[in-house]
Amino acid sequence: MAVKNFVVGLFDDEAVLFPAVKKVRTAGYKLHDVYTPFPIHGLDHAMGLRESSLHTAGFIYGITGTTTALSFMSWVFNVDWPLNIGGKPHFPLPAFIPITFELTVLFAAVGMVMTFCYLCQLMPGVKKHIFHPRQTDDKFVMVIELTEKTNAEEVKNFLKASGAHDIEEQQAEAGWWFGRFDKDDEPYLRKVKPVNA
């Protein structure tokens, strides 16, 4: 986690945002993130983000749930406490299927939610810097990270030419910290010198 310098630009329309994202990538600027009020199809592709591995994780959680359910029930009814239930066999597979299915879904769902939170670094009690208060309301916000090779003024002019407005330079913590969104606590790392100054 580190405090960095950013250039922030606001867009009104996704039709303007899309070509701007592509231009930023071809120009070689470091795109920190794009914040939109609603999910935009194909934006992840335009930003050059890699395919999410969430579904692979989901598959693994699902398989874990299946194995847990089947092995636990088999152990209970065959090894630990064999009971005669309505004359059914000790390993009644059809009767196990609904529970196995439920546990598969439960493991996959809960596991994927938690993995999603981890990947997005979301958690109650965890706070991240908000670049613009309207970034999830009605404006599209593009954040470009400044590196030692980029000039702030040049990036600002570039964003202006791409159709952005309210362009400003910000110094902010790039990662997360412990805090609450409903309390106006300034990041406690504020006084630190940005790593890319």
Binding site: G42, P94, A95, I97
Partner: protein
């Protein structure tokens, strides 16, 4: 852009060869299965005609369901399910001839309730007689087949007619409105027929003592997933021959998702029907599963689950396979063959009883495949492949999953 389909000579030849195989098998069957073996002759016809009729009807259902849901993604290839659905009238006539021959020809080895002596001696059949009798069967069959044909032709004609209209906002609204109304009407008919009584009459009454409320939904799931596979096959064929310019991997991906989802749905119904009967273990209900699970049909019963559930589940799970043309063709053929096998094990243990290699049934099946290829390719030439005036066409062109 190629927008007008021309039937390639090879496809035409293939369809004629397949139809020839079917007719030849029918003739051989007529000679080979005489007297007490005649059951197999009729069972094969019943299995194939009902299966292929219902998988082409699934195309009408596809159009109606997507129209009612205001789906836009399927418009780029909407003419394909339309053309497939136009095979319904011919197949409906074949099925009608077959079931009427069974009912009025006294084929009591297929439907033993057609023999009135059995009905009088049998309290279960007597109790079911108000529903399971020749006149009700005939009226219901005529009514459902007639309504299916009516709605299928209506949907097709409306779509063809709309190509000649001027593109204006009012015409767009009108297209959406009248399509929605007709699709709604068809879905009501479809639910009351395929979703409830039709499979009871045509297929479940083979085991007239037995009943299962899951049966119709099970049949529906089986034919619906095969119908989606059939649509995918034609879409890929046209795409590979340079037609359907607007159809991309995105559309294929969605068809793949549909096949994946409804294979799971089929398995859900397969299992629900089995588990409730297994759990209660009542003789009048387990009678159906006795030959299938514990008799000589056991390998087929579990092969069915392997082909129709495990294979599509594992194969279509990855995104890349759903976006690959060859992979979709492979799994679509597997699904159609698998559900054909499913229909085979629905009809045969109650009629023919012994498990034999289904050469006769396969031959008939190939004949029906040829007939469907012939009818559908013929229908595809009768209209442009893109419904250019449909208001959702643009949504379909820019479709992105």
């Amino acid at each position: 852009m190629k927008d007008q389909f021309v039937v390639p000579a090879r496809l035409k030849k293939t369809s004629f060869v397949l139809m020839g195989v079917g007719l030849l098998t029918l003739l051989i069957g007529l000679i080979a299965f005489k007297d007490e073996n005649a059951t197999r002759f009729w069972a094969g016809l019943l299995q194939n005609s009902s299966f292929f009729l219902l998988i082409t009807l699934a195309s009408t259902f596809f159009i109606a369901a997507t129209t009612l849901a205001h789906g836009g993604w399927q418009i780029a290839f909407r003419r394909v399910p339309e053309a497939i659905s136009m095979a319904v009238p011919a197949l409906a006539i074949i099925l009608f001839v077959v079931v009427m021959a069974l009912v009025f020809g006294g084929k009591e080895h297929i439907y033993h309730w057609v023999n009135l002596h059995h009905v009088h001696e049998d309290p279960i059949l007597t109790w079911k007689a108000p529903f399971l009798n020749k006149s009700f069967f005939t009226i219901a069959t005529i009514l459902t087949l007639g309504l299916w044909i009516f709605f299928t032709i209506k949907i097709r004609n409306m779509s063809k007619e709309e190509d000649g209209w001027d593109l204006k906002p009012e015409t767009g609204k009108k297209i959406l409105w009248r399509n929605t109304v007709v699709a709604g009407g068809f879905l009501v008919v479809f639910t009351l027929s395929v979703g409830s009584t039709t499979p009871w009459l045509w297929l479940m009454s083979i085991d007239a003592h037995w009943f299962s409320t899951m049966y119709s939904w099970y049949t529906f799931a089986s034919t619906w997933v095969s119908g989606l596979a059939l649509i995918s096959l034609f879409v890929v064929y046209l795409k590979k021959n340079g037609y359907l310019t607007y159809v991309t991997e995105e559309h294929l991906h969605d068809l793949g998702k549909f096949m994946f989802a409804f294979s799971i749905f089929w398995a859900y119904l397969w299992f629900s029907q089995y588990m409730l009967i297994w759990y209660a273990n009542m003789p009048e209900e387990t009678a159906y599963f006795q030959p299938r699970v514990w008799g000589e049909w056991r390998p087929i019963f579990f092969l069915n689950l392997l082909i129709n559930f495990i294979t599509p589940l594992l194969f279509l799970m990855k995104r890349d396979t759903k976006r690959n043309y060859s992979a979709i063709v492979f799994i679509a053929i597997v699904i159609i063959a698998g559900h054909w096998l499913d229909f085979w094990q629905m009809v045969y243990p109650g009629t023919v009883k012994q498990l034999q290699f289904p050469w006769y049934e396969m031959g008939l099946g190939l004949g029906f495949v040829g007939l469907i290829i012939f009818l559908v390719s013929n229908q595809l030439t009768k209209a442009a492949l893109v419904p250019k005036n449909h208001p959702y066409l643009k949504e379909s062109i820019i479709h992105h999953t």
